[in-house]
Symmetry: C2
Subunit: 352 residues, 2 copies
């Protein structure tokens, strides 16, 4: 993990290319909470029978059978899940990047001097084509301005308000409704079998923690993500508070995932789920331990019900959640199990 300036560590085009598909602003009137995932009477009901479902069931049986040599003591039952593209939709743009862009007007209202200069001027213009051409450095400036410089509680209140109302342009539904129902069932099935479920995300740790309990049943302390520094201080009444600082402490992508797992969990996971090259090291690290192990990769191969992308499937490389041929080869070599959204999932979402 590296310290330094805030850097998303991903391709600029990936972050901005979906701009054209977004609505002008997310709806802010219909602030309904996302429905809790219903717990099916039998596990994994949204899964078709086949090798992916079988791999999950076999792993749980191996880990929980006390008579077996592969039995995993309850305290060692740690399962880690990437979020974007693994637990919910990441196209056309990471939800958190949408948040940052939509926060710009409010930030400029508080700091009017920003509104007269780039890149804020372009974002305020609403010109999607101009915004898509912003540089990585521009984007970093937008992330720093919208994610740092405020008390932790102020950030949490803003993010909470936004996520309760923001909608995805394709489905016109709350982002929090766009979690994959089959993966919600995996989370529940593992928890029912004594596993602690963690999110290990390249997204902002503070951002995901705002809604992780409501959306996934995962408490904030079980979210590991990209994290900036904070600074302890006092307000004018002597009351202490933490300020979010524009300094990266953990870039929770690629090698940063096992490093973040060691930092915040301190145990090697028994099961890990991802969907892109950013998850490779987490799956490798999980697989390098002894005993019962499960490593799975979600393939986005369902353009009709969700999206189809990834060179490994001969599909376009959109740079968001890139699934390369090299990753696919490693998965085969190391015995990781692919999850075909098209073939393995009866349905994608809880709705419809």
């Amino acid at each position: 993990m590296k310290s330094g300036d805030v850097s998303p560590g991903v391709d600029r085009r990936a972050l901005l290319s979906g701009l054209i598909l977004l609505p002008a602003a997310s709806g802010t009137l219909l602030s309904t909470a996302a429905p809790a995932a219903a717990q099916p009477s039998a596990p994994l009901q949204s899964w078709n029978d086949g090798p992916a479902k079988q791999a999950i069931v076999d792993f749980v049986r191996a880990a929980t059978d006390q008579a077996s040599a592969t039995f995993v003591p309850p305290e060692e039952r740690i399962a880690t899940f990437d979020q974007d593209g693994t637990l919910w939709v990441e196209h056309p743009m990471y939800t958190q990047v949408v948040y940052c862009l939509e926060r710009v007007p409010a930030v400029v209202e508080q700091k009017p001097e920003l509104g007269t200069r780039e890149p804020f001027k372009t974002v305020l213009s609403g010109n999607r084509e101009a915004m898509a051409k912003l540089s990585l450095r521009d984007l970093e400036e937008i992330l720093a301005a919208t994610l740092t410089g405020m008390p932790v509680e102020a950030f949490e209140a803003e993010a909470e308000k936004w996520i309760a109302a923001a909608k995805h342009p394709r489905w016109n539904r709350l982002y929090t409704e766009l979690t994959y129902q089959p993966m919600q069932e995996v989370l529940q099935y593992l928890r029912d079998n004594g596993f602690k479920t963690y999110i290990v995300t390249g997204g902002g740790q503070d951002f995901v923690r705002v809604y992780s309990q409501q959306v996934y049943g995962i408490p904030p302390e079980q979210v590991v993500g990209t994290a900036g520094d904070t600074k302890y201080g006092y307000d004018k009444n002597g009351k202490p508070f933490l300020t979010k600082e524009p300094k990266l402490l953990l870039n929770d992508n690629n090698a940063g995932k096992p490093e973040g797992i060691h930092l915040e969990i301190g145990r090697r996971p028994r099961a890990a789920f991802g969907n892109s090259t950013g998850d490779r090291q987490m799956l490798e690290y999980t697989g390098a331990g002894d005993g019962a192990r499960l490593m799975m990769l979600v393939l986005h191969d369902d353009a009709q019900r969700e999206y189809a992308y990834g060179p490994a499937q001969g599909l376009p490389d959109t740079k968001v959640g890139t699934f390369t041929q090299a990753l696919y080869d490693e998965a085969k070599k190391d015995g990781w199990t692919a999850i075909s959204m098209k073939g393995n999932w009866k349905r994608i979402f809880a709705f419809g």
Copy 2:
């Protein structure tokens, strides 16, 4: 929190002044596990009736009474405990510093070139008076050499072996037996009432995680401590592993405690326990939230059964676990509750 070189962030004299009291080497033959703390039938049996015990009982009642406005939902029941001087003995020297000094011969065996130069030469000499004069920079070099540069698993195996055998010079008992029985009862009482108990220590996170489950019933993922960076890599067979790097990521002392709590827990604690100026900000931060709160400070005022130190009690300032008059004044002003080892505890340890 600051990045930079490994730095203990405490006074050199504090770390080395106890050298003269230590045995030449910890016993390594009698490797018996520390006994688990017995769970008493009634809570807090080792506590005398009085304001300290009453504060704990009142807090738990306020937090768990569903009919009360002070009720705390189970998921928000987070309690944080400093370790050294709060959960176990920190005199005459922090246990981890003893570990580092005793590791020097093994490190020199692997890297013979170190043995011919300072500060390693002095440590190898066994001359306690010369060792007590080592500079802070010398000490940092010793910490870096003994705590970093090896795979995470290699460090854990060494620390585990050491802690299973190392003994305190005064009681000739395992360090792991020198936990305060009344505090073990507080941990259990809070857990019995739905609290997640965390250690938040200025000591090394990786070190404390090795024994936290066995000694306190606290799993590794509930230990926040001073943490260095790790680096992901592969061995010659392509197997991935993490190496402990000599770069400080979180200095979990003073302001670093609330910062570390935000990083690794993401919730403000409801209860916090400390014993020194290094715990001040954690207690302030805990107390700054609404509703039921408990902030407590252990006073080391029992020279006969443990140790007596701290200017606030008119006792010597030993620089290890310093309890200053300023801290005592803040405690009174903010309604924190002092715990007198001499007056409030029927017994100090589970043995004898």
